[in-house]
């Protein structure tokens, strides 16, 4: 149940995508997301779909895992698409009933939006699937390091993020454990009305918070004992290096951009 959430999870591997430099990967993914928004017709969207599918294939992460992780978002996709159907009144009218009017234009935009959202999620979840959280925050802090000049404590923020990410699985595991322990004492977590259910969560969340604070203190003491100091210029065990792979990724993203612009220009726009 609670363990089925795979978004944000990291699947270790050694594919081309896993080996990209974290900074390069962040920029490439960002550009890819922008390009997805630039698409104006189904042809340019097809190019993006191709890019997303090939990327997942290269990463060797099974499509089943990827789509299972998207389960929670299907609702949002369906909702957005349905709204699109009603907002667009171009094209021939397919159904006209009371105040509701469904047109071909509406259907097309709905499909277009659904595919676009799926692509967005596919590409962005590929980032976390193939990059360990620590590498990812490292990459972010390196990309943001110019902000140090205007007194933004980038390193400290990055460390906070690393720690937060590091403890997500621990917390999930702990929630599971505490829930089981309280159920063993007869706590009824999944029946009753909303108020009763909310009340039933108290025995879960109090120990969770108490344990989290305890762990936070322990961690802080342990870090202080090892002389951690957010202001020091920290060096890294794993140096980040750009390689030919990153160059290839940038070329692909540039070519895709050119393709999208051309296809948008020469064929009609759907939205």
């Amino acid at each position: 149940m609670i363990k089925d959430i795979t978004i944000g999870q990291y699947f270790p591997g050694d594919s081309f995508i896993h080996k990209l430099d974290a900074r390069a990967k962040l920029i490439v993914v960002f550009l890819a997301l922008v390009e997805i928004f630039l698409c104006k017709n189904f042809l340019s969207l097809a190019l993006v779909v191709l890019f997303a599918i090939v990327s997942v294939a290269i990463s060797k992460i099974s499509f089943r895992v990827v789509f299972k992780g998207m389960k929670m978002i299907y609702f949002i996709i369906v909702l957005t698409s349905i709204l699109q159907i009603f907002y667009n009144d171009e094209g021939t009218v397919l159904l006209d009933w009371w105040k509701i009017q469904i047109t071909t234009g509406g259907i097309f935009t709905a499909i277009f939006m659904a595919i676009r959202i799926i692509c967005l999620i596919l590409v962005s979840s590929l980032l976390t699937y193939t990059t360990s959280p620590t590498t990812l925050t490292d990459g972010i802090s390196r990309l943001l390091s110019p902000l140090n000049k205007i007194k933004v404590p980038v390193d400290t923020l990055a460390m906070m993020m690393t720690i937060a990410l590091r403890f997500i699985p621990t917390l999930i595991e702990e929630i599971d454990k505490i829930m089981n322990a309280q159920k063993a004492r007869g706590a009824d977590l999944d029946s009753g009305n909303l108020v009763q259910r909310a009340k039933a969560l108290i025995p879960i969340f109090i120990p969770l918070f108490v344990n989290s604070f305890r762990r936070a203190y322990e961690l802080a003491f342990a870090m202080e004992c090892r002389c951690y100091n957010g202001n020091n210029k920290r060096t890294r065990m794993k140096q980040m290096k750009l390689s030919w792979r990153d160059a290839v990724a940038f070329v692909i993203i540039a070519v895709m951009l050119a393709g999208i612009i051309l296809l948008n220009h020469f064929f009609g726009a759907v939205i």
């Binding site: 454990k177 322990a181 309280q182």
Partner: protein, 286 residues
Amino acid sequence: MSILEIKNLSYKYGVGTPFEIDALDNISFSVEKGEMVAIIGHTGSGKSTLIQHFNALLKASEGQVLLEGKDINESRESAHKARFRVGLCFQYPEYQLFESTVYKDIAFGPANMGLDKAEIDRRVRKAAEFVGLKESMLDKSPFDLSGGEKRRVAIAGVMAMEPEVLIMDEPAAGLDPRGRKVILDLIKNYREKTGSTVIIVSHSMEDVASVADRIIVLNKGRVAFNDSVEEVFSHEKELREMGLNIPQITKIFSELRSFGFNLSGNVYTVDDAAEEILRYLHKGGN
């Protein structure tokens, strides 16, 4: 009829993910009423997973758990009822306390059973006394207690439900030798006074040898042995291959016997050993 019967139980974690593992594999055994059974196994052998099936917290992929002949997973109600008949005290239970006072925390289980106030009060005081918590402690916040005291509060919380079967997952883990002895004696006492069935989970032979009637050894999710303490300890070599050790004092005695001393084989604690040696010396060395 056995109070608890496990039939061909199998369980997998993470079904359908790349992290799928067989935690339990075709486990069968039964526990008689009033018996004290120890479940022993190396870290990761599936002990905690197994006992969570006994009160329907986990539902087996295959197999059944019968409580007095009835499948506990038959319906939602039977699963919920099983929680009160089979009391499960988790590993490191002190991290699950949540109420504002010790009293309220111990009362959580009995209150969930729907008992009236007087009965809850009786049970809370009885359980608290049993685990050696002073009256004055009942009004304290559980978070202000020491680790060992918290553990006792948590154990009292389960005992207060007066379950027919009490299961303790590593009750002595992380305590000093004296703390371990106190907790183990407490469980032994509980059984003698109430006549309940007790299942105690541990990875230390030393802890359970002197208290258990029977030992079930788990290895990689399977039952490796299910026999009397003596019989299980006679398989020292196999146990060692499973990452388990028989108590040192037992080992010394088996060495002594191999040198021709006529000593008993079931010596599990230093006290047993002292007694046995005295007996031996009194008899004049034969």
